[in-house]
Assembly symmetry: D2
Homo-oligomer: 284 residues x 4
């Protein structure tokens, strides 16, 4: 994989902004591999992502950051500059359903997801097996013995210990306490098994069955303390019919869940997502 | 179009039921063009639809009905027998958006929808033009002058006058009074411009924009007195992104609306829909 | 509709290119509403589209063109600058199927397609009716009486007479002669009723039925002298099953055709398409 | 999983056929869980599948077969009666791409695919690892050392040894010799990484990239000696754009491949597929 630097910016929209940034880049001889812009006309906010060949720059990442800083300040930018070769540490949380976990592990193992997976944490011990296959440290957090509060303390300690950059709830079926949601703001991704805002909360497939919808889906979103209300990154749907039982929907919906979650995680890892208020800009 | 009779049945599931019906049909030498079955295992209800070549039967529709009647009684069937050549009368209701109206008119005009359209009723006078093109009687019901109650009285009178078998709300933006909903139970179809149950109520595209979903859609459902809660016949969705404004969604969503509504109406006209409690079986 | 100027560029990729263009724009105080970039890494070609608020510029379109010209030359740009308020003239060609024609006319009539429709030309006289409804001049070109060569001469004369900027083959079932294809290069759009390259040529739905595919579709592409081989702008597909006859496919596929064609035409009218060799870049 | 017997029939369409079968079933007190019918009006062939609760029958599978036999003969049926509890033996063939293999293994491991997997055969040794995880016997067939002829002989011996009911080519990149195709007729399923008939043959994603299509897909079909021409069971597609490189398509397309193959295999295992000439009826 060619090394790139990713410059991701959001700031108030202003004339001259793109010129200033692209002049800066040209001034350092940057070869731009991919560039995406978006102006939110309603809020007057501007979003921009550049992917730049690292070997076209005469600067290190650090040096780039420091010379770019004054420009960023001038335009009141919220910005980050990241290195595509730096692997983010992604901690996986799971419960008893393995499909999303196994899917992410395989995509990681085959380099579709470029990251490190420092640990898998689950509230069911039988997930150990999958962790062992992929040679990833496994931690069973026993919610029943510990109680919810202590259990989440342990999870938070583990995330801290492994220095997780991103936490992925791969069908983790415990509701995170507010304090943890806040600590992980913008750094925790969940998959909900419905096309939100339809069927938030428990047993969405049963809800979908009861309502008689003709489509089911899945939603990948950032975790916030408002359950199932976080900024949406990706959604998938598929067609069903009256002949599908709730159990059929559970089976079929897994395909949506896996794909929405894998896309969402990849977009995040490639710095393609910018959270703005309670929504996202995704330069997919 | 080949003439067929459509036998549509729902009843408690029982051993021997299919045998009894198919024996009856074979006994009258019926050539079956299409047959669909469904057992709802949760409620123990059975659903069946047969499409039979009319010219294979030695019986008229009326005679068929009367000889089938005892069997229907024996198995406690809720049933209907219809003639594909009998055109149902479909009244169209519209407001100021014309896309669904025009779409239905064109499909009717080119025989994709096999029915009569005895009248178009609108609360905006400029819909007259489209009615004139297709040579369909037009009635402007002026809600502002008449007031809501009188206006709906007039609509109900018109539906009665034209003996409408089916009333289609083609983006008709007035909420029907409960009494009219009940009078039209199972005989009125609406299109809602979201993938219900998401974004029920007013301005669904704005709601979708505000929530930041990555999909928009449309839902075709039977009208009930619970607004946007009627049995769903068909849904369509399409992908959007952060770059779509609420206005873009309105534009794009029209494609979903047209298609979901046209499918729903066609399924109804071809006797492919059975309402069961607040859901539908659709033998599409 | 807010007036914008659209600057569409393709040229060899070079460092400093984006900076030069955006500096130019900033220097004239341009407010950029939408900006899209693409680098084809395989051919080293760069593509860019800007949509600029006209009222933010102190220049007329003409003046803009002349001051931009030297820059364009320097970077060997293939470029155009267009005014969103200038309506392109779109001639519609049809045969005996009306669904695409009517769909385009309605989208135009409701301002979803921003253009003029100076004429409808058909090789079947019954299309007159639709032209009359929308008050568009109609020309029946009688292929049987005239013969193919004379008929196409007449069509070409009509296109010339009406100064058509774009010619849309809305299910026009005659194969254009090479000479006309070349005359209309990049300015004629066709809809083919299959997901090309599958089922090129005649009777694609019958071909699809015979092959037993589980999906059907439609392809909107530029007309070239290689039949069904022109650069693809848009494709749509939908799911079918064994229970769909070739006639069902014809009916269902119309939805794909209408949507693919309408999108393709809109992208073209909004200067979102850049043809490069035998492919397209579409800034949708 | 409730035990069912599956009665799958195809035969010339005749009046009285359904009555005869359903009377037979009712006569043995069969509770029908699912019933599907299809008449191919073009060829006059009838297709029927019944799923019957085993515990509702006073007969064993064997006894059922023998009492049903005369009826089958009378109506010239091509038929099978299978037991949902009997696990079919599914041999997996792979090369160097693991995504389809891993996907099938996980679905099997979590009981989404109800079957036995007696062996994995690959022409690349590194697939061993996945076989070991799932505790499935693994055989590396070294095409380079053995040569093609000997290698396929070994594969055929292995399939025979393990008594494979079904052979799945999970991105197995060697072309089966005609003789083996014929030996496995109707019992070998392949996944091709394009929406056939587009892009048959080698490197379909590169072909798709070169043609500039806006959709890519995958096709699950039975293996025949006509390469990529076998009866299609399932197809999946997804949208792409000019910004997707051939490598992006490879990555994205894997999602289509996995889903189309998994569906195709499940339909086959559940006796939902009837091959008729070079097409399939799939009672999904």
């Amino acid at each position: 994989m060619q090394q790139t630097f990713r410059l991701v910016i959001d700031c108030p929209d202003q004339v001259g902004l793109v010129a200033a940034v692209s002049q800066f880049l040209a001034g350092h001889n940057a070869t731009i591999v991919e560039a995406s812009h978006h102006t939110d006309l309603q809020t007057g906010r501007f979003f921009m992502r550049h992917e730049i060949r690292a070997d076209s720059l005469p600067l290190s990442l650090e040096a780039f950051r420091s010379v770019f800083s004054p420009l960023a300040e001038q335009y009141q930018m919220n910005w980050r500059l990241t290195d595509s070769h730096r692997k983010q540490k992604v901690a996986l949380l799971a419960s008893h359903e393995s499909h999303c976990l196994i899917d992410l592990l395989h995509r990681w193992h085959t380099n579709e997801l470029y990251c490190d997976i420092p640990c898998i944490i689950a509230n069911h011990p039988h997930m150990q097996q999958f962790a062992d296959w992929y040679n990833v440290p496994f931690h069973w957090v026993d919610f029943q013995t510990l109680g919810k509060e202590k259990a989440f303390e342990e999870i938070q300690n583990l995330l801290h210990h492994y220095q997780a950059d991103l936490t992925v709830l791969a069908r983790f079926m415990q509701i995170l306490p507010n304090q943890l949601c806040e600590a992980l703001a913008g750094k925790a991704i969940n998959i909900h098994h419905s096309f939100l805002p339809s069927f938030a909360g428990a047993k969405p497939y049963q809800q979908a069955y009861d309502r008689g919808v003709k489509l089911i889906g899945a939603t990948c979103h950032y975790v916030t303390s408002d359950l199932d209300e976080g900024p949406i990154i990706e959604q998938e749907v598929m067609r069903i019919s009256h002949s599908d039982s709730a159990a059929d929907m559970v089976r079929k919906g897994k395909n949506c869940e896996k794909q929405a979650l894998a896309n969402g995680v990849r977009y995040h890892l490639e710095d393609r997502v910018i959270i703005h208020q309670h929504k996202t800009v995704v330069f997919a």
